[in-house]
């Protein structure tokens, strides 16, 4: 398991290569990349700042991945979440999961994203033409996390 909270960008290809390296039992890698959009909730977004709770973020992500490992047969997992100033098209988060079979890889990847969206202490503040605003949490994210039981 690799967990990283960082300001720096990440290289998706290199991260997936590292996740797979040396394990010919891996038959499936499911991954997700979250990106900054230039339009959100009807307003143009010029930039955003990602605040976090440094002492908790790594711990929360580790717990989420550990929980996914109890639910599915995984052969590796990488979670990288950026903090600080980000701009449209920038990468925010990478979740990549390796498994022997695709069903486990897909389910674990989506589970980790759903839990990250409701349990990991990150907050987005957007800069729009009307000034700065904190992004509101979505009920749909709570619902997505809730469906895993």
């Amino acid at each position: 398991m690799k967990i990283s909270v960082q300001e720096a960008d990440f290289d998706v290809g290199a991260e997936i290569s590292a996740l797979r390296a040396g394990n010919p039992q891996i038959g499936a890698v499911a991954s997700f990349i979250g990106l900054v959009r230039d339009l959100n909730d009807g307003s143009n977004v010029a930039a955003m700042t990602l605040e976090h709770y440094p002492a908790m973020t790594h711990k929360a992500l580790t717990a989420i991945v550990a929980e996914s490992e109890t639910r599915w047969a995984l052969l590796g997992c990488t979670v990288i979440h950026r903090v600080g100033a980000l701009f449209p098209t920038d990468q925010i988060v990478l979740v990549a999961v390796a498994s022997s079979h695709r069903a486990d890889a897909f389910a674990a990847c989506e589970f980790i994203m759903d839990y990250l969206k409701t349990q990991a202490p990150f907050w987005k503040k957007e800069q729009t033409p009307d000034g700065e605003r904190w992004v509101e949490s979505r009920n749909s994210d709570e619902a997505a996390a809730g469906r895993w039981g």
């Binding site: 979250g34 990602l50 605040e51 976090h52 709770y53 002492a55 908790m56 711990k59 929360a60 717990a63 979440h81 925010i92 988060v93 994203m113 990250l116 969206k117 409701t118 349990q119 990991a120 202490p121 990150f122 907050w123 987005k124 503040k125 904190w134 992004v135 509101e136 949490s137």
Partner: protein, 85 residues
């Protein structure tokens, strides 16, 4: 006993404080009681932490509930619902 309290994001800005140490009677050893102490400050504190407001509490970096116990030197964080990812 002393409790370290942290605030993040919109709540940090509303309260104008990111971190403080609050001395609680040993008998007030539950998240709900810490919140009562904060609400008693009135103003933004009473409003933002009122029952029904949407905020989260973590104790020692784990998500916690109103009835989660507190011990001396615990780190409590109070923040809005998270919006990362």
């Amino acid at each position: 006993m002393n409790i370290k309290v942290l605030y993040f994001a919109r709540l940090r800005e509303r309260f104008g404080v990111s971190e403080e140490v609050i001395e609680l009677p040993d008998s007030m050893a539950m998240v709900a009681m810490l919140l009562d102490v904060l609400r008693a400050r009135g103003g933004e504190w009473a409003q933002a932490l009122a029952a029904g407001q949407n905020f989260r509490v973590a104790v020692n970096q784990d998500m916690a509930a109103m009835n989660s116990p507190l011990e001396a030197d615990d780190e409590v964080a109070i923040f809005p619902p998270v919006t990362g990812g």
